[in-house]
């Protein structure tokens, strides 16, 4: 059954990918990328990886589309034609693909319980988590506690991405505002359309509430900091789309966003340092409370909060960096 779903979805994935590469209309490519993201998320879901599916949907289909559109607003709408025929890159790609396909002949079957990847650490995680950490979602246990260093690195990668984008995009901003024509059409933005505005106003509190639910529910079901950060950022971006970027900036000004970005990463690091002060190793949460299991749970909640805060701040910083350069705003 899974095979049937996966085959269907993967076939559509290949068709979409070929279409994305072939088209020269960049806007069509962005739309097709949204479909590609949704297909990937559905694929992950069919393979029973719910956390990854949620993150892919929230970040890939939602936020990435908005950011691509922001970038597209600053550049041309059509791809420049290639200077020469790309025979050498095509050859390299074909050789690499053939090598990878040849390598898959040696791989164990999908989901084979005797595969090496299921032999060493994975059964240990599955058997020891109820004893050591006692949360139902093992993925969050692995991400937050067993592989806490990796997640710390991920938060700093996201932080560095925000810094990079802010460097690139805030360099050349025109100082004075573009003089808008006196009779600017009232169709600017969606803020003059009643229906999307009212529906958006109804939904934004629930979106943020849902984001918080995903944040704190990460121990029991699919969820966690990354997904929650993306969902809350999507709620604020919806507000910016409906009411104008200026009011979204008034609600969450730039210094606050930058404080969120730095604060999230700082919170995560501080949890680790506090663990060291309390006698354990860096990011060893067991010392955070009297009972080591409770300490692990407290640690995971705190670092997930740090991740969520950092991701929200980063996505909103990047969105405002793009939107501020748009001469139509």
């Amino acid at each position: 059954m899974t095979i049937l779903f996966a085959l269907f979805l993967l076939t559509m994935l290949v068709i979409t990918a070929v279409a994305i590469v072939q088209t020269t209309d960049l806007f069509a490519a962005v739309m097709l990328l949204g479909i590609f993201s949704l297909l990937m998320a559905a694929n992950f879901f069919v393979l029973d990886a719910a956390d990854v599916a949620l993150t892919e949907a929230a970040v890939g289909a939602g936020i990435s589309t908005v950011l691509f559109l922001g970038a597209l607003a600053l550049t041309a709408a059509r791809e420049r034609p290639a200077a020469d025929r790309p025979w050498l890159p095509l050859l390299v790609v074909l050789v690499t693909a053939a090598t990878v396909v040849y390598a898959t002949f040696d791989k164990p079957a999908l989901g084979d319980p005797n595969a090496p990847v299921h032999q060493h650490v994975a059964p240990w995680y599955l058997s020891e988590t109820p004893r050591l950490i006692d949360i139902p979602n093992v993925v969050t246990a692995v991400l937050g506690s067993y592989r806490g260093y990796d997640t710390l690195g991920e938060v700093f990668v996201v932080f560095a991405a925000a810094i990079g984008v802010l460097f690139v995009l805030s360099g050349d901003r025109p100082v004075g505002d573009v003089i808008r024509p006196a009779d600017a059409p009232t169709t600017r933005g969606l803020k003059h359309h009643l229906i999307p505005r009212i529906v958006g106003k109804l939904l934004i509190p629930f979106i943020i509430l849902f984001g918080l639910y995903v944040q704190f529910h990460g121990e029991y079901g699919p969820g966690g900091g990354f997904q929650a950060g993306a969902i809350i950022a999507a709620g604020v971006i919806l507000y910016a789309l409906l009411q104008g970027e200026g009011r979204a900036l008034a609600a969450l000004p730039e210094p606050v966003l930058k404080a969120l970005v730095a604060g999230g990463a700082l919170l995560y690091t501080l949890v680790g340092v506090v663990c060291m002060f309390l006698g354990g190793n860096f990011l060893e949460y067991s010392v955070l409370a009297a009972d080591s299991v409770t300490g692990q749970q407290v640690g995971i909640i705190l670092i997930e909060a740090g991740v969520g805060v950092a991701v929200t701040g980063v996505l909103l910083c990047i969105f405002h960096a793009f939107a501020a350069r748009d001469p139509a705003h």
Partner: protein, 96 residues
């Protein structure tokens, strides 16, 4: 029982992709992506029950949200693209 529904939804998604690939105007593609998004929500709900994991319904809710925000973002982009074109036509030399 769930299998027939999920197959019907998959077929709908495939036909929506055809419209996204063919659609002569941009709005056809946006329409196709919107349809695709709602069908993904339904597919996730059905497959969640098919696999006996009802706690995956959070994904469906998140996808519904993302679909909505994505379509509105695209439309806002179109609106300001029209204004941008007028700015380029009339006041382009004022920009640094």
């Amino acid at each position: 029982m769930y299998i027939t529904v999920s197959l019907a939804i998959l077929v709908t998604m495939a036909l929506a992709i055809v419209r996204a690939l063919r659609g002569p105007s941009l709005y056809d593609r946006v329409l196709a992506v919107n349809v695709f998004g709602t069908k993904t929500v339904l597919l996730v709900s059905v497959v969640a029950y098919l696999f006996g994991r009802p706690d995956f319904l959070d994904l469906a809710l998140a996808y519904a949200l993302i679909n909505f925000i994505g379509v509105l973002a695209v439309l806002e982009f179109f609106q300001s693209r029209g204004l941008r074109r007028e700015l380029d036509a009339s006041g382009g030399e004022e920009r640094s």
